[in-house]
């Protein structure tokens, strides 16, 4: 089937389980101390420059186009630029997910020089007091602003990412204004997840349910780029999300997972000989794809709010022991969406909203 639009291309990749993107956690080291960070380093030796380069060769041969350098904070690696230049040499469209602390003018210029496709920066508040409180680093807010100025100067596409917490839920408009001022887009994430080792303490930071109902109402529609709350549309791709289909995640030790949230190891990039063969034949991947297909027909059918649910089987498994079991944050967010949806009255001729977590 020939495709004519990017949307068709991504949908086809999803249906055929063809990975278009990879996230590479270059390191778990970080210059921030965010209380809600999901990383759980285990003290193993992180990959060397040469090991990463050999791994990049493998995923380039596999046909991956988008490569996100993430962490930890990827820019703290002394070989960060060597790795990025090598990735560009292999033809990846390079994305960088950073806290922005190290993006000074010189580094922004270098990001431009290597033709970085886009930069994503975490922002946690509209004021130094709130942002710095969440990152645990005094001056980190000012460094985000400085990073935004530098990236704007070099016209690098920039997206801000803001996990909504009860500490910053009153500042979302201020954060929106910052994004607008510096020509960045922004996405607000209403779900805080546990750490990868199962520690649930980050969940204490979650936004309040009352606020989430407001967030999904028309009051905050502009912050959702005008998008209405709609029911999921599982008729085309027939799976909960893109886990094990359109992307995968590699941790600093080389372990490969179906996605950033579902840490079921299916290979190690250092050992794998034929990534394409393993992608097709891995029992772990077959299972996560199967699970993702079951969830819209099972878990999400158990309540009216399920039709609005952005459900993550990885978080579910981490938190409840089962990838099919509803977990509190997903339930709260989908209930909030349902309330906002019902408050708007009858919905005629509504077009379904597709799925949120396609992984590309």
């Amino acid at each position: 089937m020939a495709v004519t639009s990017y949307q068709e291309f991504v949908t086809k990749a999803f249906i055929e389980s063809r990975p278009l993107s990879a996230q590479w956690e270059l390191t778990f080291k970080c210059n921030h101390l965010c209380g809600f960070c999901y990383n759980a380093p285990n003290g193993q030796r992180e990959m060397t420059t040469d090991e990463i380069k050999r791994g990049l060769d493998k995923i380039a041969d596999f046909g991956v186009l988008y490569l996100t350098m993430t962490g930890g904070e990827p820019m703290v690696r002394p070989d960060f630029w060597e790795i990025c230049k090598y990735a560009r040499h292999l033809g990846f469209a390079l994305r960088l997910y950073t806290n922005g602390y190290l993006v000074d003018e010189e580094r922004a210029r270098k990001l431009k020089e290597i033709h970085t496709f886009e930069v994503e920066i975490s922002i946690h508040g509209a004021r130094p007091e709130s942002h710095d409180k969440l990152t645990g680093i005094r001056g980190s807010f000012d460094r985000v602003i400085s990073a935004l100025e530098n990236l704007q100067k070099y016209r690098i596409k920039t997206n801000l990412k803001c996990p909504i917490t009860h500490l910053n839920q009153g500042e979302l408009w201020g954060i929106w204004d910052i994004a607008t001022k510096y020509g960045a887009s922004i996405s607000f994430d209403p779900v805080i997840t546990p750490r990868d080792d199962g520690d649930k303490s980050p969940l204490e930071m979650a936004a309040t349910k009352d606020f989430l109902v407001r967030f999904f109402s028309d009051e905050f529609k502009e912050l959702r780029y005008g998008r209405d709350v709609t029911k999921r549309d599982d008729s085309v791709v027939r799976a909960n999300c893109g886990t094990g289909r359109t992307s995968f995640t590699i941790d600093p030790y080389g372990n490969i997972f179906p996605c950033v949230q579902w840490r079921r190891k299916w290979a190690n990039i250092k050992d794998v000989e034929n990534l394409a063969e393993l992608w097709k034949g891995s029992e772990v991947l077959k299972h996560v794809r199967w699970a993702a297909e079951q969830i819209p027909q099972t878990t999400l059918k158990e309540s009216e709010a399920g039709a609005f649910c952005t459900f993550c089987p990885g978080v579910a498994e981490l938190q409840t022991g089962s990838p099919f079991k509803m977990y509190p944050q997903a339930a709260i967010v989908s209930e909030a969406k349902l309330q906002a949806y019902n408050a708007k009255g009858p919905h005629e001729n509504e077009k379904g909203g597709g799925i949120d977590c396609i992984g590309v």
Binding site: V3, F9, L65, H115
Partner: protein
């Protein structure tokens, strides 16, 4: 009008992969993504910074003929020139002066 002696060069800000015979091209400076059809993909994959427009056209025609698409091959030259014009207008390629 594209000079057939011009040497097309890919935008250095581009990244691409060919998947199922279709090239997907991401260009960072414009945050653009393009999906090419079969002939467009053949053209894109033959741009190496040394071949001219006419050389690329001839190679695509030869490929199509060898694969049994003589009918398509005969009429494709004008389409390819037009395609180069469109790619240049979108910033996907620059058309350098050839030596011929």
């Amino acid at each position: 009008m594209v000079e057939t002696s011009a040497i097309p060069v890919r935008n250095p800000a581009s990244s691409s992969r060919t998947i199922d015979g279709q090239a997907v091209i991401a260009i960072s400076e414009m945050a653009q993504i393009h999906i090419l059809n079969d002939v467009g993909t053949r053209v894109w994959n033959l741009i190496d910074g040394t071949r001219t427009v006419s050389e690329i056209t001839a190679l695509v025609q030869r490929q199509l003929t060898e694969e049994g698409y003589e009918g398509v091959s005969a009429g494709v030259a004008a389409d390819i020139e037009e395609f180069f014009e469109a790619m240049a207008a979108k910033g996907m390629v620059t058309l350098g002066e050839g030596s011929q």
